[in-house]
Amino acid sequence: MIKSRHKRERFIQFFFLFTALISILVLSMILLFLFMEGIPIFAKVSLTDFVFGREWYPTASPADFGILPLLVASLAVTILSAMISIPLGVMTAIYLAEIASMRVRKIAKPVIELLAALPSVVIGFFGMVVVAPFLQDHLDIATGLNLFNAALMLAFMSVPTICSISEDAIYNVPIELKEASLALGATRWETVFRVILPASLSGISTAVILGMSRAIGETMVVLMVAGGAAMIPTSIFKPVRPMPASIAAEMAEAPFRSEHYHALFAIGMALFIFTLLFNLVADYIAHKHTQVGAATL
């Protein structure tokens, strides 16, 4: 009786282990299918031509599959949006964790959650019908659908991610550190800047990396707002075509299993590898420098 019960328990435990492995399974299947559909393009163009080719004319004949303009566009949009979203997100996090009263926190935290839940297509739509005409009129540029607008909208999407993760990190700094600093005569700002920020730096870095990873993979915003020109941008007010936008815009037109179709999957591979790297680095930092209690500082 006891033995059969024990056997059943073992079986159940293995069942749950299996279900937990499903995430790994899915991850490897995504990898497998992306590569299966993406690799065939490299029979036509070499890897260096694909990555460093400056011409993306997938429907011309002969077609050109150089993703450098898309790659540069993705990086430019992500970096520009990070320049807006990092200060904004981290500063908001500091405000919420250290300065805001309990009542403000109670309202602000759910508001940030709502911000994070805002569907990307709605933000793209807003950028298209409100921000683009505004930019066009006030800055006297050819089109409001450009790199800057896309970066602005992306920043708006990654602020909640950056803010909520950094807020957790800042809030979890042991109170002893704060008290010690205040007791030594430091002002609250000096305490925040010299004690609390250094102590929560690893959490903030994780937040920043995850926020940027969200920005580089975000599709609908760049599809609707970035302008769509597959050229290496010469200024921040030029239209661009980041990688996700290219995939989303062209997949419907690409004939099934054509070179174009394979090339789009290969862009998906590049995107997958980018976000995987971002996430691995974030995970590494988060685990390497976890602050446990006051003593490890």
Binding site: V26, L27, L34, L184, S213, E218
Partner: protein, 329 residues
């Protein structure tokens, strides 16, 4: 002898006065000899007043940053509500699009979005909860746990368009499901799996350890404890997670573009193998590829407003429900 001793004693005393033995103080003096050093280094000439001023200006800067976020949300919502509410009426919500999508309503899109998001939640919920049970109740710290957690966090970080590509290559093509509700449900299900796992684990964490100990002490096995004691206690928390999962799936566009959603269908889906229209894709299509983009602007605002109302409504339910749970425990 005695005198000599006294002299050295006095000399020692003098040095003591001149150079306090505190190593921290001494090193501070080494840097700027002669100046009286406060323990915390401030820029030369920084008085208490200027430090206060610094604090005040920095704090208002931080407050300003938080304010910008709130303002941005208010501006976006304001614009959508201001332009969208006039488009919303009973016909808009209950009729199909007419005249090549320049008139009529969005009923098929609402139905499609409901099917896709609820379906995705139903598909992902059992797996997500089971994974969470393993992670929180069974797993011991070690390599397997580390790898599984890494897998989940990476899955959460994959862009939705890549999920779309995977859905196209696997569900639509390899499994031969075609562009259909089922392909969309499965793709979205994979996409929201990390959300469900995360919230289910949090729900398990909030069940007090004493519950488990009491049950085990009564002779129940681990599985009996989980099934009869832990799961019922954690279930309400898991429910909020599933609501968040639905809202995430409802707003997703890129993942259903190639797997489930179509431009326009005349009919509502009659089985899970039919394609559907969906709200987020409808917003995108009307705004970028509609026949008359300017003419259909009110419809676009209306559709976006309905989508936001749906997503925010579900999120608010989850937030309020969770706050109640926390207040009770």
């Amino acid at each position: 002898m005695k005198l000599f001793n006294l002299q050295t004693y006095a000399a020692d005393k003098e040095t003591l006065v001149e150079q306090p033995g505190d190593p921290v103080r001494r090193s501070a003096q080494d840097e700027q000899p002669g100046a009286a050093q406060p323990i915390l280094k401030t820029p030369p000439g920084a008085s208490m007043g200027s430090r206060r001023w610094m604090q005040r200006s920095m704090f208002s800067l931080l407050r300003g940053a938080a304010l910008i976020n709130g303002l941005a949300l208010i501006i976006i919502l304001g614009f959508l509500v201001f332009h969208g509410w006039r488009a919303i009426n009973w016909t808009f919500l209950t009729q199909a699009p007419a005249d090549s999508m320049t008139k009529g309503g969005i009923f098929p899109c609402i139905v499609g979005t409901f099917l896709l998001s609820f379906g995705a939640m139903l598909a992902a919920f059992p797996w997500g909860v089971a994974s969470a049970i393993y992670l929180h109740e069974y797993a011991r710290p070690g390599l397997i746990l580390r790898v599984v957690r890494l897998g989940i966090s990476n899955l959460a970080g994959i862009p939705s368009v890549v999920f779309g590509l995977f859905g196209l290559a696997f569900f639509v093509t390899w499994c031969n499901l075609g562009v259909s509700v089922l392909s969309g449900i499965l793709t979205l299900g994979v996409l929201i799996l990390p959300v469900i796992i995360g919230t289910a684990e949090e729900a398990l964490r909030s069940v007090p350890a004493t519950y488990r100990e009491a049950s085990l002490a009564l002779g129940a096995t681990k599985w009996q404890t989980i099934y009869r004691v832990v799961l019922p206690a954690a279930f309400p928390g898991m429910l909020t997670g599933s609501i968040l999962g639905i809202s995430r799936a409802a707003g997703e566009t890129a993942a259903i573009m190639f797997t489930a959603a179509v431009f326009f269908t005349r009919h509502l889906p009659s089985s899970v193998f039919d394609p559907v229209m969906a709200l987020p894709y409808h917003v995108y299509v009307l705004a970028t590829a509609g026949t008359q983009i300017e003419v259909t602007r009110p419809l676009q605002y209306g559709t976006a407003l309905v989508l936001i109302a749906l997503v925010f409504g579900m999120n608010l339910i989850a937030i309020v429900y969770r706050a109640r749970l926390q207040a009770r425990s």
